[in-house]
Symmetry: C2
Subunit: 575 residues, 2 copies
């Protein structure tokens, strides 16, 4: 009992208590490999968010440790990710200049707000809201965001100065209208970086296989690819002093030392202004993280707890805000790396955080000559895999309304920006959903042969009587579909003037809400004034219990409640 | 075929073509009685909307005639109504001074916008959106609106000058802090009016019954009550010249003559500003009108067509905008009066409109001395019946979430105003709805005795096998509930490590949308990596047809699709 109470507060207590020594090597290896992947990614995504590179590193220290303590997934690797970084840039772009103190301070506020939203959703059990960020919306959103992110790297890749906030078409136009402005060294470094990264990703593994290297080692080497490219290009850039001789932009000074203690400034205006953005970041972070966590947990028959995930991610974000970091969430590629490198528990994440803390303490001078073009190349390779046109194709073939949600989300992100895009996607999903929900499946049924089975008159050869109309609704009745049902019944009664009895077959009705109950009462009266009696049949136990609490059954008279449709047909002289 | 085409464009063609001479007396009587009820109501609601009284009369001429031609209900009486008038006052209150030319011009714009929204909803078949204005929300909304309306009449009832835009508490405070300001004559006239109206409503019918008067005649006399009070009090007021001697506010000059042709001014700013209000007025008008039309139609086994109703109401509102009127919709009391007085077709409404046109042409001078206090009393008596605490009580007993929607709507209307109130109500409904939709009813089933029947393990004594988990979902799978289903299955598999096969019983699944399909694919992979095979059973024909279009069944292997749960249990060695 006490253990359960502690686990409720601190889910990590469970894996700590159950920790087995044989889990240790896996956790250590995974921690190291993930750190090697994370260092360049953290800096790259930080620059993408318009922040100095150290902010991303800070966000990779305290937040994953806090997530390790409060989250429910054993393999999720938390830190800065591409899409959330783009959302940060989009949220802060209008209120301050990137990398300025104001901008950095606002990023802290965004992180604390994101954390508050996540924890609130967790405590209020609002995790279900994430259901309405449907697959097609998330897919259209990340696909478009990936393209926006890729184009946002044109400046770094080509050494240009495309004005901040340019749309993709404006950026492309700028590139073509300033052909001479590109920096040749930068373009060369970018091209070399991209080619190397692609080579490592596509060809290294088969190559190593051919040389008979164990594929686990091969995988680890592939995942370390970005770090390898970073080291190689930084070495070259430092050796040749390209930043001085050839105008290559390098990362420059990164302050050494552990993350500072930062307190997000409280300013009602800024908090209000950023709250909508923070809510969207929270929603997207949550959906992404849970999707990853669930996939990884199921592979080992482990569970995740959605509301605990919200709390874990929320605490991680608040931790980020107080240690100079930007909003964080679970990253797909790094979680998979962590998992496949053998992470058994969140101890792996703690090792990663320690390694990143050590880098920040001792190794930041080594990154001085790291070309930003290389980070841009890493970002581009990382996000290209997010463009998911297959989902569009599959949805198009299978469900046009899902494809519509994908297209709307994608198009609005491209044209109006990512925040409006996700809002548009959610709205389209909800409207389509409301539309579908308002159309319950309704069937008129008749008797099959001489049996006691009753089936849809449209699909089966059945016997019916002109004075009895038996209607089955294949969904619970509630306010969204009750008017359709009313309309259907009234309209059917008008079309068949000889009908004297309507039998409403409730075999598929799991619940009747207050609106639907009122509608039913109205329907009973309306039918009575048209000399038609309304009956119920096959009412489920729990539904009947609730109906008995009201005066509906009184009101139904002379209509009856029949145990079965067969009983109803017999009683109404339809045999 | 030609007839059908004409009827599509002009639904009135149907009743005109089928018109029988025996319908005429009923239509004529109903037309006259409704006109007698409508004249004072139209003026009163117009004043409530902050408009001069003639605007309400104008809105009772062209709009009902247009509705008669384009609407689908045979008994709906269209014109200015109390709640919509309050919404007009609330929408225009911030942009102009009541009764000023700007205010009247804005009312025309509001009417034309309301009409455009209604027609748009009709043409785009968006009538289903009205489902989300659920019963409890409408009930809470009209109850609160009725109370707001009643208190808004304090000025007219007491002859005070409570500042415009005061909240109810401020108005009450004003009354008590200005005890000497009330005008004694006004208070007397109000009290007399209220008492007379209540007497006529409650006691006239039983009294007439006792004198053996036919109850139809009695009903007609009761309905003419407001007109009788108007005539009596206007006569007294004119005779005594109370407006000059005792400071009683009277209606004053009403311009004689038919409605002017007015063209709503087009101003992007004003149109944009008013569009949200117009959308809400359109939604409320539509829901109210359809509810009334449906009740009346069902009593005579007639149909209404929801989308045609939208068009009819929309054309009526646009007609109002071009003939100097304010937004209109179907009024409950006057439609019931029209119906019970014998209206068979919309010819009754045309008679009403003609009579009102005649009043405007010839009788407006007679209304000069009509005390506004009498109109205020008429409003109060009319709206008191809208306060529906019974609905709150019933919902509270039956469904707490419906009661919550009622309370939220009511409270927000009272505290923040009617527009925010209805928006809050809709949001609460949708969130509750989303929440419910995201929790499908899921049952684990087992075999009943030695039979081929399978039932919920929680409710029946059934046989199961440890290595087979058979799960039935009692709703179609779509993006809102698919994650719950995934969670349920994954969690069940973790809790029962001996499970090797999951059988998903699709007997209640009418559709699987794109998101759910993706989820299922993911689930199949997740389970496979946990060495569990996923099978389907009892897949309905249409669902199977669509699945066969995708590569899902390929992906499912080695999982099978079984015809019945029994087949699945046999094949999986669970007998």
């Amino acid at each position: 009992m006490r253990t359960a109470a502690i686990e409720n507060l601190l889910p990590a207590y469970k894996w700590m208590r159950e920790y087995r020594f044989q889990d240790f090597p896996g956790d250590l290896t995974a921690g190291i490999i993930t750190a090697i992947l994370l260092v360049p990614q953290a800096m790259a995504y930080s620059i993408l968010a318009g922040l100095p590179p150290e902010v991303g590193l800070y966000a990779s220290i305290a937040p994953p440790i806090l997530y390790a303590l409060f989250g429910s997934s054993r393999a999720l690797a938390v830190g800065p990710v591409a899409v959330a970084s783009l959302m940060v840039a989009s949220a802060l772009g209008t209120i301050a200049v990137p990398k300025s103190p104001d901008y950095i301070a606002s990023a802290l506020i965004l992180a604390v707000l994101t954390g508050i939203f996540l924890i609130f959703m967790g405590v209020a059990k609002l995790g279900f809201l994430a259901n309405f960020l449907s697959h097609p919306v998330m897919s259209g959103f990340t696909s478009a965001a990936a393209i926006v992110i890729a184009f946002s790297q044109l400046n770094h890749l080509l050494g240009l100065n495309i004005p901040r906030g340019s749309r993709i078409d404006e950026a492309v136009l700028y590139v073509f209208s300033h052909p001479g402005d590109a920096n040749l060294t930068t373009v060369t470094v970018s091209a070399a970086g991209l080619i190397l990264l692609l080579f490592l990703r596509w060809y290294l593994n088969p190559l190593l296989d051919r040389f008979g290297l164990h594929s686990g080692v091969g995988n680890a080497l592939v995942k370390a690819g970005p770090m390898f490219v970073v080291i190689l290009m930084t070495f070259l850039s430092a050796k040749m002093l390209w930043n001085e001789t050839a105008g290559l932009v390098v990362v420059g000074d990164i302050p050494a030392g552990l993350p500072p203690l930062t307190i997000p400034a409280f300013d009602v205006g800024v908090w209000t202004h950023l709250s909508a953005s923070a809510a969207l970041i929270a929603l997207v972070s949550f959906v992404e993280s849970v999707a990853i966590a669930r996939v990884l947990a199921s592979r080992r028959r482990q569970k995740i707890d959605v509301n605990q995930e919200l709390v874990g991610l929320g605490v991680a974000n608040i931790g980020a805000a107080f240690t100079g970091g930007s909003p964080v969430c679970g990253g797909f590629s790094r979680s998979v790396v962590n998992f496949s490198a053998g992470a058994n528990t969140q101890l792996a994440a703690i090792f990663t955080a320690i390694l990143i803390a050590l880098s920040v303490l001792f190794f930041t001078p080594l990154f001085y000559y790291l070309p930003q073009a290389v980070l841009a190349a890493i970002i581009i390779i990382a996000v290209l895999g997010l463009v998911d046109l297959k989902a569009l194709r599959v949805n198009w073939l299978y469900s046009k309304s899902d494809a519509a949600a994908w297209i709307v989300t994608f198009a609005v992100v491209m044209v109006e920006g990512i925040e409006l895009g996700i809002v548009a996607g959610i709205l389209v999903s909800i409207v389509l959903f409301l539309w579908r929900s308002s159309q319950p499946h309704i069937a008129v049924v008749g008797r099959v042969g001489g049996s006691e089975h009753f089936r849809n008159v449209k699909r089966h050869k059945v016997q019916t009587c002109p004075h009895v109309l038996a209607i089955r609704v294949d969904e619970s009745l509630f306010f969204a579909n009750t008017r359709s049902f009313e309309n259907y019944v009234l309209s059917a009664v008008v079309d068949q003037p000889e009908v004297k009895h309507v039998v409403f077959i409730c075999s598929a009705i799991n619940a009747i809400d207050g609106s639907a109950l009122e509608s039913l009462e109205q329907l009973v009266s309306d039918l009575r004034s048209a000399s038609v009696t309304f009956h119920l049949a096959e009412v489920k136990g729990p539904v009947m219990d609730r109906l008995e609490k009201t005066d509906f059954l009184e009101h139904l008279k002379p209509g009856n409640v029949f145990l079965s449709t067969h009983d109803a047909f017999v009683a109404l002289d339809c045999t």
